[in-house]
């Protein structure tokens, strides 16, 4: 008893000594209090020291709020991983159980609705964040040598994110998911040379079925996470190696390689960490707000024998492509896609040292045109969504808002007094795919 008391006193005394000896009192002390990690172990392994070094790391003094975009993208990815793991505790990747497990997640599991909502909204926001991050790098000339490799890695990461979205889209196994993926695979199959093979590998069956669901699930939770992890490691490693790019307005001859540990720079802790914290909590709160205010409705279960009357991809893509098809008659989408591809690939070949925007009129012009075209088409498509164009003043099905839940299998029509609802038996069959 006495020896134990002595041991405790000894430990407390050493901790206090460590505390007083510490220069980074606040955070490191907090970490030290959490566990014994930095006590005895710290004396043998220089963990505390490396932490201290990392916290004291000075970033370029140009690092500002706009550099948070990449961090936001990363934060959203972490959110996707965490909520995705929680969802996978309940989700069952089979055609028989997928829909019912989504129902259970949304209405049965504790906070399941929040996990699904956060996962869904983070998946949407990460695309916006990644594109914003790319735009910052593009207009800020941060891709110039020696950082062009990282632009390439970033592009691959963007495609990985999009692949995550495409594979995750099927998993709810409702009508929208089923038929959107059917359409997508049909389009894939029309790609010259490799399309047919690729589509049949992804589909795994003559039609989208349980085999397809298994494949998409495997890609979504096994293949793509490892790809993303590898690419992220490369991306961050290159950022650490090259440092933050010099500002756009800096002298062109200022040298592309920023000093490793700029003595004039801003320390990571607390300045940059506080800034990141503020941004991070706001992003999480926005995602949570979207999840609570705009919950994704649970559609009718997938029915391979009955295509829905209206099939529309969600989100901005639908509006942009609608406006382009409506006003430019087909060449618009192709032109915009080509311009986007050009913009994505140009940085790999742009080796001139100029950084200021006005010294790069071609790049700035093309970028501005692309940005303006997307925004204009988006707004136009959004307006088109509600505007009747047919002679009879009716909205075409293509223009109508997608119905929230398509009626499931209609029940046989029973003799009803007229004036009853059009199809009294047509009720969403939510138990159809259920257990």
């Amino acid at each position: 008893m006495k020896s134990m008391w002595a041991a405790v006193r000894q430990w407390a005394g050493r901790s206090w000594t460590d505390l007083k000896a510490s220069t980074d009192a606040s955070l490191l002390t907090a970490l030290r209090f959490v566990g014994l990690l930095y006590g005895r172990i710290d004396h043998r392994l220089p963990i505390g020291q490396s932490f201290r070094k990392a916290l004291r790391y000075r970033l370029s003094r140009h690092a500002g709020w706009k550099h948070a975009l990449g961090g936001i993208t990363y934060l959203l990815l972490i959110m996707l991983v965490v909520t995705g793991v929680l969802l996978s505790f309940y989700y069952r990747p089979s055609a028989e159980e997928a829909y019912a497990s989504i129902q259970h997640i949304v209405s049965g599991a504790r906070l399941g609705w929040l996990m699904r909502g956060l996962h869904l909204w983070a998946a949407n926001l990460i695309v916006v964040a990644a594109l914003a991050h790319m735009a910052r790098v593009f207009f800020g000339a941060a891709y110039k040598p020696p950082r062009e490799t990282n632009w390439l890695v970033g592009l691959l990461l963007l495609f990985t994110v999009l692949a995550f979205g495409a594979t995750g889209y099927l998993l709810p196994w409702d009508q929208g998911a089923y038929w959107t993926v059917t359409e997508g695979l049909d389009v894939t199959a029309r790609t010259p040379i490799v399309g047919g093979l690729l589509a049949s590998i992804l589909r795994g069956d003559p039609i989208v079925s349980g085999a397809t669901l298994s494949r998409f699930f495997a890609f979504h939770v096994i293949v793509l996470p490892w790809v993303a992890l590898g690419l992220l490691g490369l991306h961050f490693g290159l950022v650490r190696k090259h440092g933050i790019a010099p500002p756009a307005g800096a002298d062109d001859d200022a040298g592309s390689e920023a000093p490793r540990d700029d003595p004039e720079g801003v320390p990571f802790y607390p300045n940059h960490l506080m800034r990141s914290l503020a941004v991070a909590v706001v992003v999480v709160a926005i995602a949570a707000t979207a999840a609570a205010v705009y919950p994704r409705p649970v559609g009718a279960p997938a029915d391979p024998s009955r295509p829905p009357e209206v099939l529309m991809s969600t989100w901005i893509v639908a509006d942009v492509s609608r406006a382009l098809v409506y006003y430019t008659d087909g060449w618009g989408p192709a032109a915009l896609a080509l311009l986007g591809l050009l913009l994505a690939l140009l940085p790999l070949f742009d080796r001139r040292p100029e950084r200021a925007l006005r010294r790069r009129p071609v790049m700035a012009g093309l970028g501005a045109i692309f940005l303006a075209a997307v925004i204009v088409a988006w707004v136009a498509g959004w307006r088109l969504r509600f505007e009747p164009v047919s002679a009879s003043g009716e909205l075409t099905p293509y223009q109508q808002q997608p119905a929230v839940a398509q009626p499931g299998q209609p029940l046989p029509q029973l003799p009803l007094p007229s004036g009853a609802p059009d199809q009294p038996g047509a009720v969403p069959d939510s138990a159809g795919g259920g257990a």
Binding site: K20, S22, T23, D24, A25, S26, A100, I102, Q103, H104, I105, V106, S107, G108, W113, L114, V266, P267, P270, N271, M274, R275, L277, A278, V281, V282, V284, A285, A288, T289, A292, V293, P295, P297, V298, G299, A300, V404, A405, L411, L414, P415, L416, P417, S418, G419, A420, P421, P424, G425, V427, P428, D429, S430, A431, G434
Partner: protein, 423 residues
């Protein structure tokens, strides 16, 4: 036996079998008689325009040839030999009915085809038959006017004029002809009404062959309009449960006494349709004066029907809400299904005008609707609770941002950055 010897035997056997095989093949081919009739029948050497009749249609298939009906000598290739024997030429309308009946009224002949034999007797009793055979009215139709003359298809053949979907058009060929019908004081709008009616929509648009055509209510060969007291029975052949309820009530008694045109009291005959719920009471007012007890009964009836409809709609909305919110709706759908059954029963039971039964059924519908509404309400409330969670989320978020901002401001106040936080 040597190998070559065996080979020779085999060849001989094959050669011996070959002619037999060749002879057997034509004998097995179907419709041999019909095909030969095309070339052997001498009638066709002059009447070439009837060539198709020798091969097509149910009569040609069964070996009924020109001479079976018209008589004459099919072996002759020219007049006058061809028109000898029991030759009758083209029979008149009345003779045609008798001619068809000579086979089709004979049970001995029709047995093998499973056909009824009462058509001619029915025709005699029908309005068409009375006109043609009784009054020798040449405007009245005979067998061939509806079934076709030389090429007669069975009723299940879509080319037949008496194929279910073709029957209304076949009847309308005469009955839409205003000049022809004026002489009989008959209306000509039956087909137009029928197309709009529930029966016509089912037949023409949904291709539902259980739907009645003209002949289903008027009779095929014994066609006559149903009389006042027959109407409920005619409709009741299909609408059995409605007829049962109708017969129980005061309207049924009135119809049996001939005081009311049965179903036609409220519904149309050719333009059959449901009476819209919202004009139920107005329909009652067609017969019952506005300030009577029976008018009030119509108002009460309409109120119950309206109530049931709004309950069903509300149950449907609730089910939609629950489904979209991801609830497992299997049990609710089961309840809804039972409400749908009660709702369907209301449609039948209202014909008995028994308001107490309607009250009972209404209560059953309502109990389901109330239950589903409560579930949907609970689901909406949990939505609201989800939004409440945003209060602490944003409180913590704004606190963290404010803290970070204060700290950053303090740091910038201390010379732009904090090199070493004080220990």
């Amino acid at each position: 036996m040597s190998r070559s010897g065996r080979r020779v035997t085999l060849a001989v056997l094959v050669l011996a079998a070959a002619p037999g095989t060749l002879r057997a093949a034509p004998a097995l081919a179907p419709r041999q008689v019909v095909q030969s009739a095309d070339t052997l029948n001498g009638c066709l050497s002059c009447h070439a325009e009837q060539r198709r009749a020798a091969t097509e249609g149910v009569h040609a298939q069964q070996g009924v040839t020109c001479t079976t009906c018209h008589g004459g000598n099919p072996r002759a290739r020219a007049l006058p030999e061809a028109h000898t024997g029991r030759f009758i030429g083209a029979p008149g309308k009345e003779a045609t009915a008798q001619l068809c009946g000579s086979c089709h009224s004979d049970p001995g002949r029709m047995r093998e085809y499973g056909l009824p034999t009462g058509q001619l007797a029915e025709f005699r009793a029908s309005r068409h038959g009375q006109l043609l055979l009784g009054q020798h009215d040449q405007n009245a139709p005979t067998c061939t006017d509806c079934h076709g003359t030389h090429i007669i298809y069975p009723p299940y053949d879509a080319r037949s004029r008496v194929y279910p979907m073709n029957i209304p058009g076949t009847c309308a060929a005469c009955h839409s002809d205003g000049d022809l019908m004026r002489g009989y004081q008959l209306p000509t709008d039956q087909l137009d009404q029928f197309r709009q009616s529930a029966h016509g929509v089912a037949l023409f648009q949904q291709q539902n062959f259980a739907a009645p055509t003209c002949a289903s209510c008027h009779g095929a060969h014994s066609e006559l309009p149903p009389t006042v007291t027959e109407i409920a029975n005619v409709c009741g052949q299909c609408h059995a449960l409605v007829e049962q309820q109708f017969g129980k009530g005061p309207h049924g008694a009135a119809a049996r006494a001939g005081d009311m045109e049965g179903c036609l009291g409220c519904h149309s005959n050719h333009g059959t349709e449901r009476v819209p719920i919202d004009s139920t009471s107005a329909t009652c007012d067609n017969c019952h004066a506005a300030d009577t007890r029976l008018h009030q009964m119509g108002v009460d009836l309409q109120r119950r029907l309206t109530q049931a409809r709004s309950d069903m709609e509300s149950a449907q909305r609730a089910l939609q809400t629950l489904s979209v919110a991801g609830e497992r709706t299997g049990d609710y759908r089961f309840s809804y299904q039972s409400a749908l059954t009660y709702y369907g029963q209301i449609a039948q039971k209202q014909h008995s005008l028994d308001l107490d039964t309607l009250d009972y059924l209404n209560a059953r519908v309502r109990s389901v609707s109330v239950e589903l509404d409560a579930r949907a309400e609970a689901s909406n409330e949990s939505d609201w609770e989800h939004k409440l969670l945003l209060l602490p989320v944003w409180f913590l978020t704004l606190s963290a941002v404010a803290l970070a901002w204060l700290l950053l401001r303090a740091l910038s106040g201390a010379g732009g950055r904090a090199d070493e936080p004080e220990a």
